[in-house]
């Protein structure tokens, strides 16, 4: 943190809704200083940074994980490989383990075990399959309460596990990144892999949600 002026807010009263000419301050200024210096030293390239940001904003996200889940639901052998070595298995569907995914581990939810993932110290998260974490995943509340009161947290997500289901909370680290393989909902036997993937939510792959079947109408068609 720069300790400098964080007050980027308008001082003169004029509209600064989207004024690209406004002088930067606070963290934005700090980052700009760092980037320009690093570019001058040849340590980073602005276009490469742009491309990386574009990747994480638009190309890498929970759709990737949803594809792996859907494939695992319809292909028993793939599922076995996913649970055995998820980093290798996702390569089969055209994903790359890449940064933060080298040691990806898939955790299977069953009728008796529900898995839920947290990073208690920071924000470790399986980028290649889920993209970057949502704000709540990084919040102090989630990081602490997922361990102290996981069932309470799940309740706030609208998920009440039956008392007989064992809840396992996994702490991610730089070495181990987890994704949850949620249970396939009933009534989806006739859906295609693509249709199945569309049902899979991000939260179901963190373990703060489950996958529910398509609405009656969609099933009937």
């Amino acid at each position: 943190m720069s300790g400098k002026d964080h007050g980027d807010r308008d001082k003169s009263g004029h509209d600064h809704d989207h004024d690209h000419n406004a002088p930067e301050s606070g963290p934005a200024l700090r980052v700009k200083a760092i980037e320009t210096l690093l570019v001058e030293k040849g340590l980073v390239d602005t276009n490469a940074l742009d491309a990386l940001i574009d990747t994480y904003e638009h190309k890498v996200g929970p759709r990737n994980g949803a594809r792996a889940v859907a494939r695992a639901w319809i292909d028993r052998a793939f599922k076995a490989r996913l649970l055995e070595d998820a980093a290798a298995a996702i390569e089969e569907i055209g994903l790359h383990a890449g940064p933060q995914g080298e040691h990806l581990t898939a955790l299977e939810n069953t009728t008796t075990v529900h898995n839920m993932v947290v990073c208690t110290l920071c924000s470790c998260y399986p980028w290649p399959v889920l993209g970057l974490p949502p704000v709540w995943y990084k919040s102090a509340a989630y990081r602490s309460r997922a361990v102290v009161d996981p069932r309470g947290v799940l309740h706030e997500f609208g998920l009440d596990l039956p008392a007989g289901v064992e809840l396992r909370v996994w702490d991610s680290s730089a070495e181990l990144r987890y994704m949850v393989l949620p249970m396939r909902p009933a009534g989806t036997e006739h859906l295609s892999e693509e249709e199945l993937a569309a049902l899979v939510t991000r939260d179901s792959m963190i373990g703060t949600g489950i996958v529910t079947g398509p609405s009656e109408g969609r099933v009937a068609k």
């Binding site: 700090r30 759709r63 989630y142 997500f157």
Partner: protein, 121 residues
Amino acid sequence: MKDLAPAETVTEVEATVFAEPWEARAFAIAVTLSGGKRFSWDEFRERLIAEIAQADAAHEGRAGTDANPGQYYECWLAALEQVLCAKSLLGAEEIDRRADAIAASPPAPTKAQSRGPIKIA
């Protein structure tokens, strides 16, 4: 814990990966430099953990109000600065000086918004 949002479907979630452009720049710089072995991810991460712990401690006692969403990337930025300096890739004073210079310099003229002719004579 209001920001524990209900489950969204995958197709609905990704509107805002970064709340501010600077967050994206700070993210990309750290990932790029660690990928290029200028420092290891762990060397960055241990500093990030320390910054987050500090921010958490500062927020304790204010129950119900979670850290502001922008705070995470402020921790990220602080960790980035520390690792850059620790690895002698940049100096703290150098960053200060550059930041002051950028703040003091007149905004760069931009032509991006004028699509039409700028003059008709």
